[in-house]
């Protein structure tokens, strides 16, 4: 029961935040990918960086449970699947999470995107045995690796000698730094105009 309440609270906060940062607006997602409006790139880099610094700080302080971490396997499918997702992400301006959120804000193209997503997920379910037989899901490492060794987890580390928690804090600070250094646009379009336009809804 507690986990269901947490699912409602954290999921609800995530959906609310996605809408408030502008991630439910495909104009801003597509603007990010065509490098003309980096508002969302700065937002997401800052979010990941801040969360990383605080998470690894909490792990060092012993107030976070390392058992809550969940690292995914690295394999060739991660790169190929990421590329497939990237193409669809650019065409629609939605990813799975922002698509669900945008559908709920009243965007009909997002609802159609979700239907396409259900079809794509079903196609993967149907083709999974074949995909696995190609070895794509085990090639390229095939392990759940992190940059440094994190205490209390068994994940293999790429770098040894420095605790993974400190590497995590450093990596987080790098992301925060990039968020501050990135300009609003790399292609001469004013993202401020886009954000303002979104705010008024016209």
């Amino acid at each position: 029961m507690t986990t269901i309440i947490l699912a409602i609270l954290i999921g609800g906060a995530f959906g609310f935040a996605l809408d408030r940062v502008g991630a439910t607006n495909p104009d801003l997602i597509i603007g990010m990918l065509r490098l003309s409006a980096l508002h969302l790139m700065k937002t997401i880099l800052l979010a990941i960086g801040v969360a990383s610094v605080l998470l690894f700080g909490a792990l060092l302080a012993g107030i976070a449970d390392p058992g809550n971490l969940s690292v995914k396997t690295t394999h060739l499918g991660v790169l190929l699947g990421g590329a497939l997702l990237g193409v669809g992400f650019a065409v629609a301006g939605y990813c799975p999470g922002t698509g669900v959120a945008a559908g709920a804000t009243g965007r009909k193209d997002a609802l159609v995107f979700i239907l396409g997503g259900l079809a794509g997920a079903a196609a993967f379910m149907a083709s999974y045995s074949w995909v696995a037989s190609t070895g794509i899901l085990t090639k390229l490492l095939g392990v759940k690796a992190t940059l440094g060794a994190i205490s209390g987890t068994g994940y293999p580390a790429l770098l040894s000698g420095i605790p993974g928690e400190w590497i995590g804090i450093a990596a987080g600070l790098v992301l925060v730094g990039i968020a501050f250094l990135l300009p609003d646009s790399l292609r001469g379009n004013s993202p401020a105009r886009k954000v303002a336009k979104d705010a008024t809804g016209h």
């Binding site: 995530f14 990918l33 800052l46 990383s52 991660v78 997702l85 650019a90 193209d109 159609v112 993967f124």
Partner: protein, 186 residues
């Protein structure tokens, strides 16, 4: 009403942090499989069956639902679980936020401005593209084992190698696609 990147980034970062401190890192795309499984099981009740031999207690003739000891089969059989309710709550939270800020402008509800500027006003054309894009995004996410949430946000937050590789793949494909497709500003 859109938050500045500084305020928005802090807000989103605190949500990522709360998720991993209290339960586990945020993820979304698995739940498309779970919903497919629920719908499929309504049509064919043999899609997911109780199986005392399976680690999760559930099994499926579909190899994907059956993998990892029937982990997904179990979620299909019990939709009131953390991951599935989490995604329903995303919709509720975003819907509430949109309602409080006065909703999305009418013209934006069928397509974003930049689509209209490049491909015209036909909703059907936009819906067809959105459907195919959704197909690619979810097929890709399942092939990768996660999406923008699970791999990019949660993975990179945890310094997971898979998160960096996924992010590289997504942007190396997404940036040229967006630049070539949308030549006119919105």
């Amino acid at each position: 009403m859109t938050l500045s990147w500084l305020k928005g980034g802090l807000l989103l970062g605190l949500v990522f942090l709360a998720a991993v401190l209290l339960v586990k890192p945020i993820g979304v795309s698995t739940q498309f499989v779970i919903l497919d499984g629920i719908l499929w099981d309504m049509v064919d009740p043999q899609t997911v069956v109780a199986s005392p031999d399976a680690k999760s207690g559930f099994a499926s003739p579909n190899a994907y639902l059956n993998k990892s000891g029937g982990k997904y089969a179990k979620s299909v059989a019990n939709p009131v679980n953390y991951g599935f309710v989490f995604v329903l709550a995303i919709a509720a939270g975003a819907g509430l936020s949109a309602f409080l800020r006065g909703g999305v402008a009418r013209a934006q509800r069928t397509m974003p401005d930049i689509w209209r500027a490049n491909f015209g006003d036909s909703p059907l054309k936009r819906y067809l593209a959105a459907f195919i894009a959704g197909f690619l995004v979810l097929y890709g996410a399942r092939l990768a084992g996660g999406c923008t949430s699970g791999h990019m946000m949660s993975g990179v937050m945890q310094t997971a190698l898979s998160g960096y590789i996924f992010t590289a793949g997504a942007f190396l494909a997404g940036i040229p696609t967006a630049i070539l497709l949308f030549t006119r500003e919105g």
